[in-house]
């Protein structure tokens, strides 16, 4: 490895490396991809600052207008959408689910990656297999009956609990712990007389922190986006943000700009997260992809 690198370093002939330079075609492809990716989002924010009359102009407006304030006011005054309630509920659900999934996944990931116990391979295999099962769609009927029996329909815990089952999280933390924590470290702590839980708290958790951050971001985004199960189990007067937008769309679909204002507000938290942690998200996705 080092031998190859030292051999290659001094000799960097131009011709050899030119195949990796971006040609004009590559630049066109990338520019196009960027425009197509950004345009619908840009359009959403533009519409949120316009009036309904401007929204149907031909050609459509491409620059921001000055009506964001009144659109927001109208959105908040639309009582049957419960938009603010939806935002707050989504925040609660997403934070609780994220914290729980990260905790559960690091505990299990530690055990699968660094501890020897009977049946560990079978249990981990089981998790991988169940990642293939579309639990949400398969389980709607029994989950709904369960919530009715418990009297939890319409409550946030009915949304939170099923999302705590996240095989991907366990899988990801197992992979991460395998790579990030040397066996010797666990061994040394063991020799010093540390209990397993102490090793978890003092050795494993600090080493897993970057992986935990990526998992947390992914789980937060996923939970924030959930639509089908909240639509079924929650009532219209206590929605999450996604079902609130569906209600807006249904009852006030002709008020485009207000609908777009709500939609823009619903993705804003994710945007802030993305801008702050984009680099880590890309890194985490790419690392996960290679390991998987």
């Amino acid at each position: 490895m080092t031998a190859i690198q030292t051999r290659r370093r001094p000799a960097q002939p131009e011709a050899r490396n030119r195949i990796w330079d971006a040609g004009p075609l590559t630049k066109v492809v990338l520019a196009l991809a960027l425009v197509l990716s950004a345009f619908p989002i840009y359009y959403m924010f533009i519409m949120a600052t316009r009036t309904n009359e401007e929204a149907i102009d031909v050609p459509p407006p491409m620059l921001p207008g000055g009506h964001l304030g009144e659109n927001v006011e109208r959105l908040l005054a639309t009582e049957d959408a419960y938009f603010l309630t939806g935002l707050v509920n989504s925040a609660i659900v997403s934070v609780v689910v994220t914290l729980s999934v990260v905790l559960i996944s690091t505990l299990a990931g530690f055990a699968f990656a660094k501890l020897r116990f009977r049946g560990s391979k079978i249990l981990l295999g089981l998790i991988l297999v169940t990642m293939m099962v579309p639990l949400q769609q398969m389980g709607v009927v029994p989950l709904y009956e369960l919530m009715v029996t418990l009297g939890w329909t319409g409550q946030l815990k009915a949304v939170i609990l099923p999302f705590l089952v996240n095989g991907f999280g366990v899988f990801m933390m197992t992979q991460y712990a395998t790579q990030a924590v040397p066996d010797e470290l666990v061994e040394a702590a063991r020799v010093d007389g540390a209990s397993t839980m102490r090793i978890y708290a003092n050795v494993i958790l600090p080493a897993l922190r970057p992986g935990m951050a990526v998992l947390a971001l992914l789980v937060f985004m996923q939970t924030w986006n959930e639509f089908m199960w909240p639509l079924i189990v929650l009532n219209p007067d206590n929605p999450v943000v996604q079902t609130s937008i569906a209600a807006l769309n249904q009852a006030h679909g002709t008020d485009y700009v207000m609908l777009f204002t709500g939609t823009a507000a619903s993705v804003l938290p994710l945007f802030i997260v993305f801008v702050a942690f984009g680099r880590q998200i890309v890194g985490g996705l790419m690392e996960g992809a290679v390991k998987a």
Binding site: R16, A22, V29, A33, L34, S37, A38, P40, I41, Y43, M44, A55, I56, P60, L107, A108, A111, A113, L115, R116, K121, L123, L128, M132, V133, P134, L135, Q137, M138, V140, V141, P142, Y144, E145, L146, V148, L161, P162, V165, T178, D183, V191, G193, T196, Y200, W224, N225, F227, I245, A246, T263, S266, L270, V273, R279, I281, V282, M286, V290, A292
Partner: protein, 325 residues
């Protein structure tokens, strides 16, 4: 997708027997042994407890319900496989299956082709690499509901930007919701817009693990860029392509949010004649509009069967890509 399901190499010989010796760092021997033996199960138990309640139980219970004429708080009569028999002859169900498969193919194939092209472009040396990578991931962080709202508006018949654009080329305004083909196109583009960049990033990660020497050797041998792409890149990416197809299969066959939002009314009908009703919508409609839980449960199991078959077909198909050198 080589899944490393290996536990770490046995650096430590089995469960140690520290009990008889005082070697385990001063702690009580019995306690330490109990810790070694039992704590691992304690650590994995939260996941499996939750999974039992919210995973295994629903699956088994769905099977049980599917064998009944089952109404919420109503009659529950055992009817054997009658629900499945009716489903197989139910045109509405097959319509939903065809729609789901159709939109799955229409969205997945262009998506993966575009993702490959995009990944290849992202793999080149260019200024602002991170910027481009973040840019193509932007759609992923936009919620599906938001995507559907924006695209539904873009596809609007009278004031939609897409009809306006097509109008510049003399195309008459299309009512995208109206026909099977047009609604499928609209919904497929929503899916593709959101997922192409994600797949490109995953493929890019795999591309970067391909040794560059391979390309350099091929270039010296006179292989064109195109030939290098087909003979080196694609075969080396096979495991990752299988992975992305696998993810797309599950996502595509459980399609729900986009078509529901495209409709505007969450009636789960999927258009006036069900032209874009998916199987997931069919299940929710049977259960929560018509309150026929048994029928919905049977449909859920058939959806699962569909996913298994789809995954197997895709797997055997994708495995062959670039297989014959």
């Amino acid at each position: 997708m080589t899944l490393h399901v290996e536990t770490p190499a046995p650096a430590r010989p089995g469960p140690r027997r520290p009990s008889g010796h005082r070697g385990s760092g001063g702690r009580g021997g019995g306690l330490a042994r109990f810790d070694l033996r039992a704590t691992p199960y304690f650590l994995v138990s939260p996941y499996f407890l939750l999974f039992a309640v919210f995973g295994v139980f629903p699956l088994g219970y769905t099977l049980w319900v599917s064998l009944h004429d089952w109404e919420l708080a109503g009659d529950k009569t055992f009817i054997g496989i009658d629900n499945y028999v009716s489903l197989i002859t139910d045109e509405a169900f097959w319509n939903a299956v065809i729609n789901t498969l159709g939109m799955f193919v229409m969205s997945t194939v262009p998506q993966l082709v575009l993702a490959l092209i995009l990944a290849n472009a992202l793999n080149k040396r260019i200024r602002g690499r991170l910027f481009f990578r973040l840019g193509v991931l932007l759609p992923l962080i936009t919620s599906v509901v938001a995507v559907a709202v924006v695209f539904t508006q873009l596809y609007g018949r009278d004031y939609g930007m897409i009809n306006w654009f097509l109008g510049l080329f003399g195309v008459d305004a299309i009512n995208w919701q109206n026909e099977k083909w047009s609604s499928w196109i609209a919904i497929s583009t929503m899916i593709d817009w959101r997922w192409t960049g994600y797949n490109a990033i995953i493929l890019l990660a795999a591309m970067q693990t391909i040794p560059k020497d391979l390309y350099e050797a091929a270039a010296i041998d006179g292989a064109t860029a195109r030939r290098q792409f087909w003979q080196i890149t694609i075969p080396m990416l096979r495991p990752t392509i299988i992975f992305t197809v696998f993810i797309s299969t599950i996502g595509g066959l459980t399609l729900f949010t986009e078509p529901v939002m495209f409709d505007g009314n969450p009636t789960m009908a999927g258009g006036a004649t069900g032209q874009y009703q998916t199987v997931a919508m069919f299940i929710v409609k049977e259960a929560f509009r018509d309150f026929d839980f048994g029928y919905a449960a049977a449909a859920a199991w058939l959806l699962f069967a569909l996913i298994l078959i789809g995954t197997l077909i895709n797997y055997s198909f994708t495995r062959r890509i670039g297989g014959s050198k």
